[in-house]
């Protein structure tokens, strides 16, 4: 038994599509302790959602796990049957998706959908289930819960729907909550409310959260650790302060530069990361970010950089960190 709630080691996963093998994850390793908040940041197609889905066994055909081990809460995900997986999903690990309208069933009431989870995973009586459903809606800050239970998803606003999704996810008090871009479809003011709610519930229930997003602003206040993903690799991992104040990978640096800052007063230009994301059908041989990197060196195109540890937690895979050594080497 490991000390970690989640321990993923050297995970490799591909999707076998008609046009070829899409290498979605190349050697991804990380772990989450109980009660920890991990942020996974990256652009679309970087593999951040796939990492989360594979943990729940949701990457069925044409996805295929090619290597590595996934451990969660004492289970080895690799060896689990579909039946065991069903027991685990929604019970020990839950997920909130980006768009609450498409993840709620439009033809069932809110109450129906909350009770379903409890019916499947607990031995509670009908009355207890009803009480728990009311309690859950109160927990996520929905007023008049008894009335809401009889309403349908279309009768609620976007923020309310996301609160219902959170209530469903929390029904069985999971050990891990996966939030896949939970606020991308919401307005800024609603986003602030939902993030506040999630942090509050985390403290109350003591669960771990895996926060997937492409918005660095969202992870800044919430997360203990951040993993930056690019083209199916974790290119940098560290504490929140490491990532924001001491970024070591060129992609992380670019990402931080490209976000609009609120503290500047004048009209400034944004500094984007030029170029387009990599094609995962034919990933490049060297560093995946090399084609968009301003400081690309010859070695970046040839070989993948090794993992460099800066301290116990902070690591990155970028040749720039060894630039001094490399230059010293060629001179000799």
């Amino acid at each position: 038994m490991s000390e970690f709630l989640v321990n993923i080691e050297h995970e490799r996963l591909s999707f076998f599509t008609p046009v070829g093998e899409v290498k979605a994850l190349n050697d991804v390793s990380f772990h989450i302790k109980e009660g920890e908040v991990l942020g996974i940041v990256g652009e679309s197609g970087s593999g951040k959602s796939v990492t989360a889905y594979s943990l729940m066994g949701l990457t069925a055909y044409p996805g295929k796990l090619l290597g590595g081990t996934l451990d969660f809460n004492g289970h080895r995900i690799n060896d689990m049957t579909e039946k065991e997986m069903q027991k685990m999903r929604g019970n020990e690990v839950s997920i909130i998706f980006q768009d609450p309208m498409t993840s709620l069933n439009p033809v069932y009431t809110i109450g129906n959908q909350i009770r379903e989870v409890l019916k499947l995973h607990t031995n509670k009586t009908k009355k207890e289930i009803q009480e728990r459903a009311v309690e859950l809606l109160e927990l996520v800050g929905i007023n008049e819960p008894k009335k809401r239970l009889k309403q349908y998803p279309h009768e609620l606003s976007g923020g309310m729907r996301q609160r219902v999704m959170i209530a469903i996810a929390l029904a069985c008090e999971p050990k891990l909550l996966i939030a896949d871009e939970p606020t991308t479809a919401l307005d800024v003011t609603i986003q602030a409310q939902i993030l506040e709610l999630m942090m509050e519930l985390k403290d109350k229930l003591g669960m771990a959260i895996m926060m997937i997003t492409h918005d660095l602003g969202v992870v800044a206040s919430m997360c203990d650790h951040i993993a930056v993903m690019y083209a199916g690799n974790i290119v940098e991992y560290g504490t929140t302060d490491d990532i924001f104040y001491r970024p070591k990978h060129e992609y992380t640096k670019g990402l931080i530069r490209s976000i609009p800052r609120m503290d500047t007063t004048e009209h400034e230009r944004l500094i984007p990361i030029e170029g387009t994301p990599v094609d995962l059908l034919n990933p490049p041989k060297g560093c995946p970010f090399a084609s968009r990197c301003d400081n690309c060196m010859r070695i970046c195109l040839r070989e993948k950089a090794p993992v460099i540890h800066f301290d116990d937690v902070h690591y990155s895979t970028c040749w720039m960190n060894q630039k001094a050594e490399l230059e010293g080497g060629t001179k000799q």
């Binding site: 800024v188 003011t189 969202v218 800044a220 609009p260 609120m262 030029e274």
Partner: protein, 312 residues
């Protein structure tokens, strides 16, 4: 800041009202008495939450809806209500739109060159095939795409590239005004910055005016010269970008600004987002009139409300 003292506005919206009758007893008042002006070469950012009526304004301006009341003047001509076929035709070339989802707004069965050339074809804007091709190649280069991209289909592009095609389609007609409706919301942060920079560059070159509709205030700040804050169909606060960001008066604007998460953990830990709820705020938008704060900074409220705002 651009100086517009001598220029006449390219677009002037006066007292625009847009109601939608849902049933005999229920009418949605999407836009209530909104007025603003856009000058040549300027970007006007329209921000507000979903359902505030910002897209409706864009659609009314481009004549997708017939306004319930109010006047829309484009390049000195009244374009609200009925207009002649010829006027409509020139309007269609001089006002263009960029949409939110580039995949949904590009015809999946057409090659990029035909998507871009469609407007030219309809308005007979070239003498021969060679000129058409030259125009398409020129616009592709302008938005940072390669000449060989002309022969590709929309699905062969990434999200950012598709939005570049969307921009090229709007720009090829050489419009005076472009309505950009949430045109960067569906893109990744690093790509958003690319598109915003591109739009700014093109504006400097061509002098087109933009009506930039968005809910993300942080990006609006980088592209807009002036900003209008919209809530429940009312234009609550207008002013230059600096006026709005450094001195927000209306509690709704303040709540919008305070809700933006900062990409700086130290700042973020101390950020307090202000809550604002119209129903409990005790404000009445319908009674408000425009009050001048300074320069071109206006707030729509009653006298007593303004006093309350300024105490904060």
């Amino acid at each position: 800041m651009k100086n517009h003292e001598n220029a006449s506005p390219v677009l002037e919206v006066q007292g625009l009202k847009q109601y939608f009758r849902v049933s005999r007893t229920y009418t949605v008042k999407a836009v209530e008495d909104v007025s603003f002006k856009i000058y040549p070469g300027e970007t006007y950012g329209l921000v507000g939450e979903s359902g505030s009526g910002k897209s409706t304004i864009g659609r009314s301006v481009i004549r997708l809806y017939e306004p319930t009341d109010g006047k829309i003047t484009f390049a000195g001509k009244d374009i609200s209500g009925k207009i002649s076929k010829a006027d409509n035709k020139t309007l269609r070339t001089q006002m263009q739109m960029i949409f939110q989802d580039p995949m949904a707004s590009l015809n999946p069965r057409k090659k990029v060159e035909d998507i871009l050339g469609e407007g030219l074809d309809i308005h007979h804007m070239y003498a021969n095939r060679a000129e058409r091709k030259a125009k398409i190649q020129a616009i592709l280069a302008k938005v940072g795409l390669a000449p060989e991209h002309a022969a590709r289909y929309p699905h062969q592009f990434s999200g950012g590239q598709r939005q570049r095609v969307g921009i090229a389609r709007a720009m090829i007609m050489n419009p005076k005004l472009i309505i950009a409706d949430e045109c960067i919301s569906a893109l990744d942060v690093s790509i958003q910055a690319q598109v915003v920079n591109l739009m700014k560059d093109i504006q400097e070159e061509t002098g087109s005016a933009y009506l930039f509709i968005a809910h993300d205030l942080s990006m609006v700040k980088y592209i807009s010269d002036r900003i209008g804050v919209l809530h429940l169909g009312h234009l609550l606060e207008t002013g230059t970008t600096e006026e709005i960001f450094s001195n927000p008066i209306h509690p709704y604007t303040r709540s919008l600004l305070s809700a933006i998460p900062s990409p700086n953990p130290i700042v973020e830990k101390t950020r307090i987002s202000e809550n604002y709820d119209y129903r409990t705020s005790g404000l009445d938008y319908t009674k408000g009139t425009d009050h001048l704060i300074s320069g071109s900074h206006y707030v729509k409220c009653t006298d007593e409300e303004l006093e309350r705002f300024l105490k904060h």
